[in-house]
């Protein structure tokens, strides 16, 4: 008995002090290998009488188990220590910077156009487009601005000259120009589609004007409704509804003022109420009104020019600057920066790709 006990104590002591995995393995082979001491003892069991086996067997098996368990435990401990040591050696300064993932941005004008498309879709308006290089019939004549009308001079038009004439919307040769407003899209839509019509037409427009607050190219959005029984009241509601949704302000009020545009009669300019916040005008509230855009009931001459009967069809149109809408909502104050491509500006005022305007998530970002 004491033989086995002392063997076990000796083995367990050796295992406990083995300090490498190799040493543990050597002990395992010495004890449990083919010619190990424990294996040797186990082999003696076969030659024993049942009585002897019953007397010595449990002790020998017990020896094997305790040695096996001790080796497994020692091995795990050493492995764990080795892993700890490796991990300790692998430690790096996690405060070091990671490679930046480049961040892109959507231009505010594009974002605002998407916002407007979203709002107007809910009001049943689809988005129409037209060419930016237009003929003077569609840009002026059909819009009730004859050649000598002083309003043509108001428009600071870019022309392409006599060598670049083409067929105008009325079938006659016409001077080509850069559209001065998005209103020719009205003409194209009324000529190509049967009423009722509800469209918005956003896009680039051009005037030969360049100073601190004007750029020769800018963005406008046109709205047009042609139907039966449409009045200035519908115009007022549409402007109110869209501006409240766009600025997300229920306290935004609209004021209509008589004005003049050749293509509308009556013509009105629309102002929106603002409040002063830290000296800046914020849309909504009631500290005053600011001018936003032009509008009116589509002139019978325009409806007629498009081949529709003004006795039967009437409606309203409005126009407003998209860049201006962006500035008023998001606070930029320099129009020229919109067209400069300065990455610092684009990152600051631009929008994340995932800021897709939705009615449920909100059209502002």
């Amino acid at each position: 008995m004491s033989e086995i006990t002392s063997l076990r104590d000796g083995l367990l002591a050796d295992i406990a002090t083995a300090d490498t995995l190799d040493a543990v393995e050597a002990l395992r082979v010495g004890a449990l290998g083919k010619s190990g001491v424990v294996t040797g003892l186990l082999k003696t069991l076969g030659a024993m009488t049942p009585e002897e086996r019953q007397a010595k067997g449990p002790a020998i098996h017990d020896l094997r188990e305790s040695v096996t368990a001790a080796i497994t435990a020692r091995k795990a401990a050493l492995e764990s220590a080795a892993l700890d040591a490796r991990l300790a050696a692998e430690r790096i300064d996690m405060s070091l910077p990671a490679q930046p993932v480049p961040q892109g941005s959507v231009h505010p004008v594009s974002q605002v156009m998407d916002e407007l498309a979203e709002i107007f879709a809910d009001l049943g308006f689809s988005v129409a487009t037209g060419p930016e290089i237009e003929d003077d019939w569609r840009n002026f004549t059909a819009l009730n601005i004859p050649e000598t009308h002083p309003a043509r001079a108001m428009h600071d038009t870019f022309y392409f000259g006599d060598n670049a004439r083409a067929t105008g919307g009325d079938g006659n040769p016409a001077a080509m120009l850069l559209r001065t407003h998005t209103s020719p899209v009205q003409i194209r839509t009324m000529m190509n589609e049967a009423p009722p019509i509800r469209i918005i037409a956003p896009g680039r427009v051009y005037r030969s004007d360049s100073d601190a607050t004007h750029t020769p190219m800018f963005h406008q959005i046109e709205g047009l409704v042609i139907d039966k029984g449409i009045t200035l009241g519908h115009l007022k509601w549409t402007l109110e509804t869209f501006l409240k949704a766009y600025f997300e302000r229920d306290d935004l009020a609209i004021r209509l003022r008589p004005s003049f545009f050749p293509f509308t009669e009556p013509s009105v300019e629309f102002d929106a109420s603002y409040s002063l916040v830290n000296g800046q005008r914020v849309l909504g509230g009631n500290d005053g009104f600011m001018e936003l855009g032009g509008s009116g009931m589509v002139h019978p001459n325009v409806i007629r020019a498009c081949g529709l009967d003004p006795q039967e069809w009437q409606g309203f149109a409005f126009g407003i600057g998209v860049d201006r809408l962006a500035m008023l909502k998001y606070g930029m104050n320099d129009l020229r920066a919109f067209f400069d491509g300065d990455l610092r500006w684009l990152r600051h005022y631009g929008f994340s790709a995932l800021d897709v305007p939705t009615l449920s998530g909100g059209v502002g970002a």
């Binding site: 959507v106 409704v225 491509g341």
Partner: protein, 800 residues
């Protein structure tokens, strides 16, 4: 258009306050642009008398004055040469602000002598240009009185913007009429206003004038006044004109300006001594020139109407008078012209000469054709009153177009039908009458517009008149009828493509810019030049409609680089502009992108910064094409991306040989240099309208279940001639067994040791997808043989 409140009140009898006037102006469509009371900036300036003046002990050019501004003597240091005892002038007490420079006056020591304010010059008070000395007022000016009150400057100046249809409001009287209609008071009769002027007792025949151009100048009325004495206009007239920013010139000229601004009626006064014979309105003759009042010489053409005598042109009719025949200080005999010029002719002439004037603004909008006689008579009476002399009879050459302008078929219900607000018929009649319209009401109304309202043409115009006076605030907000249910989608397929492309590009780290649609000719040249060149560009840099988006992006990249940006990733979605064979515009929506500078900055992990290469452009193009649902698998890679690109590091993606969907690559170094960009610049354009739009047939996807068996991969290495494009081999391999091969990916390119000269080794990983059963060895062998055979057709041999 500027006018003073007192001028308005000459025509409008009213108790309304300034604020009420301003609100009413805007309400009727005369938008108030600004209002300013000159008295406000002169607050604190008083009339003062210099009691004594003594030399300054420390300075030769200064004097020490004792000044009484009503509160007893005060010591003031003054440098004006005209300062002297007894002078009555304008004194600013400490604390007041000098209008001209915003300086606040303080008690200060000037060269050691205390000064308690300032005696002011005209320029310091913004009353004129005179800065030679301090203002000298009449000796009886009341000392201590506020100067603004004394000078009658407490009169607000109102600036309204007049829309092009309202010529009648380019005179104070027209504005007064609108305000009276709005209910702000009563429009005084013009006869009453001019009642105090002397009546005309015509003496002698009217001047010799005629019109030979009835189209451009249908009526030329004139009257002469002899033995006038011209000089400065009286104070009240000068004050009126100065208040609104008009410079007083002489009584005769000031009278014409006074009538033009007060009554909207431009006139011209000629010095008869400078005329040779009578005056005729005629078309200019080719080669004629005129030196106008603004000191510039204008070359005239045969379409322009002028006023000339027997020898020379004296006036660009209705636009600007000539330098040599205007009224001068010594003028004694004058001819007053009151003509009607055809608006269209004036507009054309004014545009052609690029010449604007107060007269042109009024004539081209159309002055009142029924106001020639009265306008001329008032002018003559004013001349008689202010300059004396004897008036001739009136000569009336031609006839102004005064046929009545009648709108028929008007119904009072039209107001509600168009404007959505109901206005009672008798109220409508009253509004129209107050604006000068006459109404014959029957089953429908016949409404005659007043002669000064040339803009009235149809029933909608009548509605507008009623509504703008009734008040647009009465228009109710009326909801548009709404289609039942949830709003339908409205975006077109191309709009969706643009939106997805934009947001995909931004998600990939590109920043969206918006660049000018016009570029310079030099910038357009490498891209084949532009089809559209502006006749009147704002500058040479903005002259040609862009045939490419890259020019604008490269300019933006350079600006960013100049500002120190190390890495530039920019894109734009916009149009390229071409011209169709029929001359019409062909505009192509395009996405352009430019990447320049560092792709990745230097870092502790990878060391040096990395530049972009051609494959960054290719990767971006393919990712964007995938995002917009383009048929990427069908696209063929071909060379020839054009002169803008590096010939060996660029390519195009095409659908069939002709339809180019995208071009990309390394920018040609010459072009990069032309844009001052250093290092490798990569660029791409995706031609969004060249991509076929998938037809959507419902939302159902093709049925699909992931295969049960795992795919297996096999690698093949081929020797190919160096010139063979990798894509050709990959396509050949992929096509070798369309059932089994689901992907072929080139993963290694090698040339050098072990590879024969003129060849390269391409390694391809082929993914094979088994169907119902796993591949047998024979099947795998068969597939491999087919792959090798297909590769052989493009000149590749399996590498041993």
């Amino acid at each position: 258009m500027k006018f003073t409140l007192s001028w308005l009140k000459e025509h409008l009898e009213t108790d309304a306050t300034l604020d009420e006037v301003l609100v009413a102006l805007t309400d009727v469509g005369l938008e108030v642009e600004g209002v300013e009371n000159p008295a406000e900036k002169l607050a604190g300036f008083k009339i003062a008398k210099v009691l004594t003046a003594a030399p300054h002990p420390q300075a030769d050019k200064l004097q020490v004055l004792s000044v009484d501004a009503g509160d007893g003597p005060m010591q003031v240091v003054c440098g004006a040469p005209n300062a002297r005892a007894g002078l009555v002038g304008v004194f600013g007490t400490p604390g007041t602000t000098v209008p001209a420079n915003g300086m606040v006056l303080r008690v200060a020591a000037i060269r050691g002598v205390e000064s308690n304010g300032m005696m002011c010059s005209s320029r310091e008070l913004e009353l004129g240009d005179d800065h030679e000395g301090i203002i000298e007022l009449p000796a009886d000016a009341p000392v201590g009185t506020a100067f603004a009150d004394y000078a009658q400057l407490d009169d607000p100046v109102i600036d309204v913007s007049i829309t092009p249809n309202r010529q009648d409001c380019m005179g104070v009287r027209g504005i007064a009429r609108d305000l009276a209609a709005k209910g702000l008071g009563r429009l005084r009769a013009l006869d009453d206003i001019v009642a105090m002027l002397p009546q005309i007792a015509p003496d002698g025949p009217g001047p010799d004038v005629r019109t030979d151009d009835p189209d451009g100048c249908p009526a030329f009325y004139a009257q002469s006044v002899h033995s006038v004495s011209n000089g400065p206009a009286p104070e009240w007239l000068q004050r009126r004109l100065k208040a609104i920013g008009q410079k007083p010139i002489s009584a005769l000229v000031d009278i014409t300006n006074f009538i033009m601004i007060g009554l909207g009626r431009p006139l011209h006064v000629y010095d008869m001594a400078s005329l040779k014979g009578g005056l005729v309105a005629r078309k200019a003759m080719a080669g004629e020139q005129v030196l106008a009042l603004n000191g510039k010489t204008y070359a005239l053409t045969e379409t322009m109407t002028v006023i000339a005598d027997a020898e020379t042109v004296h006036d660009i009719g209705g636009i600007m008078g000539g330098e040599h025949s205007g009224a001068q200080d010594g003028t004694t005999d004058v001819l007053i012209e009151c003509a009607y010029f055809t608006p269209e002719t004036i507009a054309q002439t004014g545009q052609a000469l690029a010449l604007t004037s107060d007269a042109r603004q009024r004539f081209e909008r159309g002055v009142d054709p029924a106001f020639l006689d009265e306008g001329l008579a008032i002018a003559t009476r004013l001349v008689l009153a202010l300059c004396g002399g004897k008036a001739s009879a009136v000569t009336r050459a031609g006839t102004p177009p005064t046929q009545p302008n009648i709108v028929t078929g008007y119904l009072p219900e039209m107001v509600e039908g168009l404007a959505g607000v109901s206005v009672a018929p008798d109220r409508q009649q009253a509004i129209l009458a107050s604006l000068g319209f006459t109404v014959e009401s029957g089953e429908t109304w016949a409404v005659t517009a007043p002669s000064w309202r040339r803009d009235i043409a149809g029933t909608a115009d009548i509605v507008e008149e009623v509504v703008r006076i009734e008040g647009l605030d009465k228009v109710p907000s009326t909801p548009l009828p709404r289609a039942p249910g949830v709003a339908r989608p409205t975006a077109t397929p191309l709009q969706l493509v643009e939106r997805r492309a934009r947001r995909a590009a931004a998600a990939h780290g590109l920043n969206e810019a918006i660049n000018w649609s016009f570029i310079s000719e030099a910038e357009a040249a490498p891209f084949g030049g532009g089809d559209w060149t502006l006749a009147n560009p704002i500058s040479e840099d903005m002259k040609v409609m862009r045939p490419t988006l890259l020019a604008g992006l490269l300019s933006a990249a350079r600006r960013n680089a100049d500002r120190g940006a190390a890495s530039v990733r920019l894109f734009e979605i916009g149009r390229r502009y071409f011209r169709d064979t029929d001359g019409s515009s062909s505009e192509h929506p395009t996405l352009g992108l430019v990447m320049a500078g560092e792709k990745q900055p230097r870092g502790w992990q990878d060391g040096k910064a990395k530049a972009f290469d051609a494959f960054d452009a290719k990767a971006e193009v393919l990712a964007l094409l995938t995002a917009i649902d383009a048929p990427v698998a069908k696209l063929q890679m071909m060379g020839d991306a054009g002169h803008a690109y590096h010939p060996g590091q660029s390519g195009t993606l095409r659908l069939g040989p002709k339809t180019v969907v995208a071009a990309y690559g390394v920018l040609h170094p010459r072009l990069a240099r032309a844009f001052d960009l250093d290092g490798t610049v990569v660029a791409a354009e995706i031609y969004l309208d060249a991509i076929p739009q998938r037809k959507k047939s419902g939302f159902m996807r093709a049925p699909y279940a992931p295969p049960a068996l795992q795919a297996v991969t096999r690698d093949f290495a081929f020797l190919v001639p160096e010139a063979l494009e990798g894509d050709a081999l990959v396509r050949a391999v992929r096509g070798a067994d369309r059932n089994a091969i689901v992907e072929a990916r080139l993963f290694d390119v090698f040339a050098g040791q072990g590879v024969p000269e003129g060849h390269k080794s391409l390694a391809i990983e082929v993914t094979l997808q088994p169907g119902e059963k796993s591949f047998t060895d024979d099947e795998l062998k068969g597939i491999a043989e087919r792959i090798v055979a297909a590769a052989g057709k493009v000149g590749a041999s399996l590498r041993g």
